[in-house]
């Protein structure tokens, strides 16, 4: 019986981030999430999904995530969960809204699945920025997005997380298409 599992990032993530870690606009933030998704496909490491957490007031990058399900052999290692876990590790608190910034933004290249949607609610995220839609993910890749709450957006906003959709949606869909065209596994 195993009693430890470590979630980490592939080394090439550093190349995608680059030296300048300020991402002022929502397009800047989503641009990084989508680049991470596309790079994960290019490196053949699993699902075409990327995510990143930023400080709301400064735009400074806090943590990134890519889908690590196949690499870690772990079904929960979705890009959003990886980014949130590493954001907690960086901030040092189980609620990001207890951290020093005025708020914390999660940008994700595709609409969170049922699990990641629930995870966003617990992490202390003030704003969620979404690229591709749930129906894009399902129609382009065939991934099931799970039993999401039918009124997911209002439920999240009622709990203090603002939601912005369709940011760089087409670029996010390009990463999904690249995965599908490359014969990426659907799990």
């Amino acid at each position: 019986m195993e009693n430890q599992l470590c979630i980490n990032l592939p080394p090439w993530v550093a190349d995608e981030i680059g030296p300048d870690r300020a991402y002022p606009s929502d397009s800047d933030k989503m641009g990084l999430a989508v680049r991470l998704a596309a790079a994960n496909v290019r490196h053949g490491l699993g699902g075409p999904f990327g995510a990143a957490v930023f400080e709301e007031d400064t735009g400074r990058l806090v943590a990134v995530g890519v889908n690590r399900v196949l690499e870690h052999r772990c079904s929960t290692a979705h890009a959003e969960v990886v980014a949130l876990m590493l954001a907690h590790a960086t901030v040092g608190h189980h609620r990001l809204d207890a951290g020093p910034a005025a708020g914390y933004v999660l940008a994700t290249s595709a609409q969170p699945c049922a699990m990641c949607y629930g995870a966003v609610g617990w992490a202390g995220i003030s704003r969620l920025i979404i690229g591709a839609r749930r129906e894009d993910v399902q129609s382009i890749t065939g991934f099931d997005e799970g039993p999401l709450h039918p009124d997911w957006k209002n439920e999240l906003e009622r709990r203090g997380t603002a939601v912005v959709t369709d940011v760089l949606r087409e670029a996010a869909c390009d990463a999904l298409r690249a995965y599908h065209d490359g014969g990426g596994a659907v799990y």
Copy 2:
């Protein structure tokens, strides 16, 4: 920026498991989940929640989890997610139903929150056994359970996970009460 976070178990977990690792009945399975929940409260390490994964055909224990949110400073480290991650590490596959057993059962001392519910759907769990109800958790401890899908049970069963509720419900509620009476933090 941190690029790794490790999920593990407190050392006392071994004492709760004991030398005999066969748990034939649903009560046996839930008994372990509830003992883990109660022990987490007793050791003052966070939320009153325990979970365990078993092989369906043999009843053999595969992995356990307790709530590690405060210890790991990580909002996603719920008992179910910890148990599922460690079950993946033990089985060596991101789908437990690709493992050698005929099926894998998750017993959880309390109804999964919105995030853990989503996680169950991805892990390849054939059967979910629940102790305390969502309304028990909310009324006894004050923990929010999040925006769960209104038809959560059917949605899960439709995807191949059978659901059994109210197993040792009162014992599971005792762990919740012990946490509340001890002034446990609600986060």
